[in-house]
Symmetry: D2
Subunit: 105 residues, 4 copies
């Protein structure tokens, strides 16, 4: 039995592989999000009222935010913390901050 961190390759690797610690939960969420996107397409196909469609689009965005934040947290606890412990934190944190920036306001 290994901790999630054990799966985390350092960012300097060429072939970085990470088994997500919440892999099954994430796949389930993404499956639901895929269905929500199809649902929005169906609403537009059926000429549903714009504001109702917009409400659904906002719901998908919240669901994707949650996926992004989960990935960000697990990445920080795993890959970034590993890199810091191995005295290779500087590059890992630069990369992390770029990811945060993409999600930031």
């Amino acid at each position: 039995m290994t901790s999630p961190e054990a799966h985390c390759a350092l960012p300097q690797d060429d072939q970085r592989h990470v088994v997500q610690p919440h892999k099954q939960a994430l796949l389930k969420r993404l499956n639901r999000i895929e269905g929500q996107v199809r649902g929005v397409a169906q609403m537009i196909q059926n000429d549903r009222y714009c504001v109702d469609v917009l409400t659904q689009v906002a719901a998908i965005q919240s669901a994707l935010d949650a996926v992004g934040l989960q990935l960000l947290e697990d990445h920080t606890r795993g890959c970034v913390a590993n890199a810091v412990s191995a005295k290779k934190g500087e590059q890992a944190i630069t990369e992390l901050m770029a990811a945060v920036r993409r999600f930031a306001r």
Copy 2:
């Protein structure tokens, strides 16, 4: 042949139907977004590096933002402008602002 606005039912209707003026383009975009969501699930399935996954999640969010803003703009040009011209703008603008708020920072 009718203008997009002609399709726009006023928000007081019980059964509001709106043919989106960019209907085909929106359906095409949503189809592509659905594929992107499936792609992220595949990346997680394949244990791809967290930051690469996060980059794809951020790309989906940008694509959804664009869909939301298109819907918001068409709704304003159609339903909201119609309601204002019919002196029923107050309720329509209240509803619009609630939608903007959901997309706002």
Copy 3:
């Protein structure tokens, strides 16, 4: 006595002047925000813990969001609705959407 809308010059004017319908409330809020910004500077001056500073920065952003949304709503109810009623809505809505985009996610 005039309605707020009466104060709203159409966007085609060279010298557009708008008396904000919530002018005093907005000035009061901005005054408070100015104090919050000074407070954050003071916290950094006093070497306060980063996360406490970050919490205050996020509070200022929420307060500014509220100011922005109030301005957006009053602008839509006033200037934009006026322009639509005067059959000059197209340009006003283009301008409105650009402003929404700046606040959007």
Copy 4:
């Protein structure tokens, strides 16, 4: 002469003090932001056009985002990395993620 990290107290401390590594730059930025907030109040006082005011509000938000991201990055490189190296990373990362969440979309 000490590195920025040396100034960083661990989150378990009661009296946490952190000399920001970019202290002078942050104070300068906040001073400029304070002036921008005063400028927006002046614009509203002078009945300036709503969209011009909104543009300035959005500029302040961008400036505050930049301050927030700088603090977040320095906090991660300093306090969080220190905590991880001292095997006290778990709590520090929980706290970090709460801060990221407040800035996230």
